[in-house]
Assembly symmetry: D2
Homo-oligomer: 430 residues x 4
Amino acid sequence: MHDALQEEKVFKDPVHHSIYVQEPTIWKLINTPEFQRLRRIRQLGTSYLTFHGAEHSRFSHSLGVYEITRKIISQFERNRYVDWPQEEKLLSLCASLLHDVGHGPFSHSLEQIFGTDHELWTAEIILGDTEVNRVLREVEPEFPNKVAAVIRKKYEKPIVVSLVSSQLDADRMDYLLRDAYFTGVNYGTFDLDRILRVLRPYQGNIVVKESGMHAVEDYLMSRYQMYWQIYFHPVTRSSEIVLRQIFHRAGHLFRTGFRFRFMLPPLHALLEGNLTLSHYLKLDEAMAQTAFGQWVDEDDELLSDLCRRFLNRQLYKYAPLSPEDSGWLEEVSKEWLRIGLQPEYHLEVDTPIDSPYDIYKPGALPDGKEKPPILLLGEQDRLTEISMKSDIIQSIAGLHRGKYYVYYPEDLVRPHAHRLSPETRNKLSI
Amino acid sequence: MHDALQEEKVFKDPVHHSIYVQEPTIWKLINTPEFQRLRRIRQLGTSYLTFHGAEHSRFSHSLGVYEITRKIISQFERNRYVDWPQEEKLLSLCASLLHDVGHGPFSHSLEQIFGTDHELWTAEIILGDTEVNRVLREVEPEFPNKVAAVIRKKYEKPIVVSLVSSQLDADRMDYLLRDAYFTGVNYGTFDLDRILRVLRPYQGNIVVKESGMHAVEDYLMSRYQMYWQIYFHPVTRSSEIVLRQIFHRAGHLFRTGFRFRFMLPPLHALLEGNLTLSHYLKLDEAMAQTAFGQWVDEDDELLSDLCRRFLNRQLYKYAPLSPEDSGWLEEVSKEWLRIGLQPEYHLEVDTPIDSPYDIYKPGALPDGKEKPPILLLGEQDRLTEISMKSDIIQSIAGLHRGKYYVYYPEDLVRPHAHRLSPETRNKLSI
Amino acid sequence: MHDALQEEKVFKDPVHHSIYVQEPTIWKLINTPEFQRLRRIRQLGTSYLTFHGAEHSRFSHSLGVYEITRKIISQFERNRYVDWPQEEKLLSLCASLLHDVGHGPFSHSLEQIFGTDHELWTAEIILGDTEVNRVLREVEPEFPNKVAAVIRKKYEKPIVVSLVSSQLDADRMDYLLRDAYFTGVNYGTFDLDRILRVLRPYQGNIVVKESGMHAVEDYLMSRYQMYWQIYFHPVTRSSEIVLRQIFHRAGHLFRTGFRFRFMLPPLHALLEGNLTLSHYLKLDEAMAQTAFGQWVDEDDELLSDLCRRFLNRQLYKYAPLSPEDSGWLEEVSKEWLRIGLQPEYHLEVDTPIDSPYDIYKPGALPDGKEKPPILLLGEQDRLTEISMKSDIIQSIAGLHRGKYYVYYPEDLVRPHAHRLSPETRNKLSI
Amino acid sequence: MHDALQEEKVFKDPVHHSIYVQEPTIWKLINTPEFQRLRRIRQLGTSYLTFHGAEHSRFSHSLGVYEITRKIISQFERNRYVDWPQEEKLLSLCASLLHDVGHGPFSHSLEQIFGTDHELWTAEIILGDTEVNRVLREVEPEFPNKVAAVIRKKYEKPIVVSLVSSQLDADRMDYLLRDAYFTGVNYGTFDLDRILRVLRPYQGNIVVKESGMHAVEDYLMSRYQMYWQIYFHPVTRSSEIVLRQIFHRAGHLFRTGFRFRFMLPPLHALLEGNLTLSHYLKLDEAMAQTAFGQWVDEDDELLSDLCRRFLNRQLYKYAPLSPEDSGWLEEVSKEWLRIGLQPEYHLEVDTPIDSPYDIYKPGALPDGKEKPPILLLGEQDRLTEISMKSDIIQSIAGLHRGKYYVYYPEDLVRPHAHRLSPETRNKLSI
């Protein structure tokens, strides 16, 4: 198994049909405990509570990103584009496979509460005392550093970085297609073959042939639809809020000396704020759910209630907010206290600004955090930023008008409805 | 939420596109903790270790069985077939939704080791002190008993039973399509609309119009392909063996007084053999996986090794066996002991006879355990058992020629290869 | 066959899976010679020369429009919307089935050259001495007039008109899905079920529930993509130009007394400008192609060459034009004459303004020719024109920036390349 | 266009997504008039009268066969199988592209009536004075002969022949997938990628790796389903009968000196039995349909009626026959005469033995006409004929139990129903 691959390995994949592995290094990386652990982290966090098909893992997504990267490079090679640095193939494949290896359970929620950072963990898994590191070092001693540099967008050749991480990268292409497949919607689909065919390396970047402008529009519109229909679905946001509140409450209890009946070392380290790599690697969604199942029986009523809500999908209700509602929200806080609820846990306003997603940004910000724009390669090798040519893209480039909602536990509020103001009753339709 | 449904509820489903809920009882059942728990039980057990897409849960399958049942009944109603007892609609829908509600984590493996029986648990959930029971009793006091009777195939009207449980039932139709979708193969697909159109109620049974014979052939061939390609895949069998060995070892340790560092009440009850309903409901796959993660650090080397194998997908290897190999297998047992392995845990022969699946059986066995045959309704309302008319079905009806494999931990064997007999080295290609 | 339908008729359809016919009138209409004739008219004219799968006929499209209309009405009925006039069901179904019955071969090209109008022919088929008329009159004597009125958008109840003909009508929904299916692209697909679910009748119109805004955006983006990728593909335009030139030349020859070796009465009537209904009904694409095959052997070299080009797919080449090229185009005309070509036939500038397609227009023009805008039904039953709420739709609403191309027979030009100006050689890449 | 290909050409195809052309010879062949003519010949003859989507042409099928052949060879090359003669790539591709180039309109019907043979015409197109021949000769003077030899199964290397023509060839794989796609059924689909992966060249043949047995079963079952559901659909047979009767009648009239008002040289040559290649190439389905449209107005009532039936889809009705019905059939003939019908034209018994299709035959017949069996390559390179290992295939290998039907013009018979015997009325349900 750990010898050189005598024959191609093939994974059956619902999105790409087949995923082909030729290099022994890739095969060995897939078989490391750190990579297998991604089977226990869902790709879409709590979205399965809204779309029951969305139970797919980061394991399958990571294989998919690898496969798309493999296909892009294969196209570059078939066309013998001189701007593609052929010697970087294995590096690109490894980086694409491992780009998400540091994700923890319900990553975004956890990061908000505890300040963990999956990108740092990714680096630590690649550079630390792990099987992944050992497999990479077999290639050459410097190889782990290179892979980490690509994922951190610090590698010296930006073209390698942009394969894995740009506004038109293998990561996004796979997750749009995969999330659409597993949720069962069809608006996330776009023509992957067509996109792959119009990419080409050019002067250290990956650009789009001008004839591919409509293909990119199609891809960005899929992003737009998935953004609003799936990633930002208010029921999903509600489940994330409940999840965050669980960690928020557990953290508060821990800091105030609460004695948990059920605790495991990785959770303890998480709450204490001193996670080691070995703890982090044990912290998967199975453990989180098991803890919630046990915490239902803890003496803290609030923690128990939140855990029960999450497991039984008795989420917070939501109501739309308009900008003028900020005054009213302050009132609601007071009303909540009056009826015995805790606004800190029982009232949350969700703003799309929290979102880790954006559709498209034409310009890079000075802090270097932004991804470079998508460039069209036109006649006489002229490069143009795509929103200069596409009205569609221009119209969505700046879009971030999200809807605001207020979330709250309706079942706890309703018995006290008669004590609420008419405005509150009206806005919450109680 | 718990009032009557003012408007139809719609679930987005990758297999059926949409799943429609009109009855408040169905809506309430879906929202019970017992039904929501099915989100934490995978539909295909360990198959996700072979086909990485197969991470779907019994929750989505149960909704799918409900939806197919709803469609069949809707067809019966549209055609105003007098042989369909219209008053049994809600009963049929509830039974189809709940038929799998008693499944535990990795059901088949657990049942083999501990003798639990998911059908008994289903009955207990329906009849016991649960939310499911409360929702059903709202319909009428006797309703839980009726639902349980349908699922136990004891209900007085066999036509209701056969909707949920027969050789052409909503359960099988959904799991074939769903498992094919999530694994990403296309040989499990058949034309559901076409099958639904040829079913009709007739004298207390559901029969197939003669023009639908080829449609049924197509459906049975899908079963046949899924059986060999997915359900019986040797890698999946290998992962089930490792899983069974974990429980086997844990049970042995428990009985011999081993002190587990990590234990939870439901697991303790499972090992002790006195599970209560409340424990059983907590026992989901998240808990099993969390236990395995902790047991990696137990002092028993064998248990630790098995758990590590399961989590990191370092499964047992397999080699094909022929009927003449029984003598050799006895020798191998001795060789295993010689090199320090325990045949009880490190050597397992898997026979397809263990399988919970069959393709089609034309006749019911006298013990009443068998499902009744599929009947074609021909001219002059003559009924014929389908394999009398279809050569294809006749040819697969008796098929159960499975392949035999021997499974073993190759990595533990290989270092001692020089101490094995040439025959063993040859058969295991070591 | 012509009795009342004892059981539902089902057509297998690649786009809608099944098409259901319950009313005898619909069944009889489908079986009239006038409707069956649509099998000999391609839905996408010459597009099959660009996308070889696009060989589907107006017959299948017409069935599809009928089926979508049936589904919309069925949804209205299930929801018991009081604003839907139930008595208009059969009228709506007939109008949707027949809305394209007057199309002739390569309609748009023919209409440009000979001024025929498929809408007039549709009316004549419905009102004239035809089987279609006889079937409709069986319903009631005024029924043909009603059907014609709906198709001509003059029917007294605009809600019936808008089912068949609006910016979100059954016609467009079917052709987008169907043309995408047969060409094999996936950017024309949108979620039909989702669109159908958000439509509702309201005060004499069909409006969209506000929650359906993104669904409509998705549908309009599909239109946008199909427009640029399929309907306006320059190779398709080139084949239309060659086709138009055939008719243009044949008309010229006819008017100047040319003696055709091959002529058939319907073609003669077409060229003479006095087509009767009976001639028109014989004029299908098979006849046009047969004529072209024969005209290859006519004595007029130009006609022969054009026919040969069309049949053998040796189309005109194209080169992009910019607004500044108008001066150069005049020069090219002169150059063409110099090398013995006829600019009238050998040089054509194609502008998208000719297009029968648009994406979306928010306002109706005063001449009443425009289709009414799409309205969102929001809270408190407030209606809003959709582009007021959707930035995406606003951005595409005004779009008609098409690309200009010049088309010419490269094979006739190339041998004279040395006699062309450098600018011409450069622009045409010769 | 006729220079060497600077970049890969890509055709959008609904079945294979993309079809890739790299060799200039292939590109030039596609652009010959003889190959373009296949756009005017439907792949499934009259099946579009049963399944309205089945309007696809032999042009798209021929491209598909080419593409599958290309993929098989590419797999052989990637795996560097020594048994594959690499120098035969272009020959294989050309033969696969051209294997159907000699098909005429409604081939099978025409061949039955006039004894034409599309295989002879294919050879003549390849070897005669055609563009196809000129393109092939550019490769080398002997190349046309080689291509013709492959198609005639006489080429010296049987492995090249079996790519294009065997029981598991590119031709069948494409038509099953394509016909399923365009008719809209899903039982013709099988996993093409999986089949391609298990093929390998071995000692002058293409064999199947033993692990691929179930994949071949799946493919053969698709054939079986398509055979009964599509190719042998009685409505399609009815339309073929009407078509054959048209040619039968026209031939009879021609031989008895009837003066046709409408006639074209290729039709004349067909009826006279002295078709030249140039006539044959003009004889497409457009011409046949145009002739039928004109012949509706001929003075022969029978011919006129048959043409009208075909164009308006007023086909013959059918009733099932059992082996005991032969006596009755003789009686019906007499009854037909009694009521003024002509049994020669108005009564036809269709037997599946006419079928050009078979599912699978394990043995080659001595006359060499049969295709060689499918061989499995097992351990120690042992070859086994597949039905020896697969019960499924064994059960379908001998199957040819077709249904017999009698076809007749019900509308002409019904007015005389009272003059028919009770048995006839009963059997025909009149």
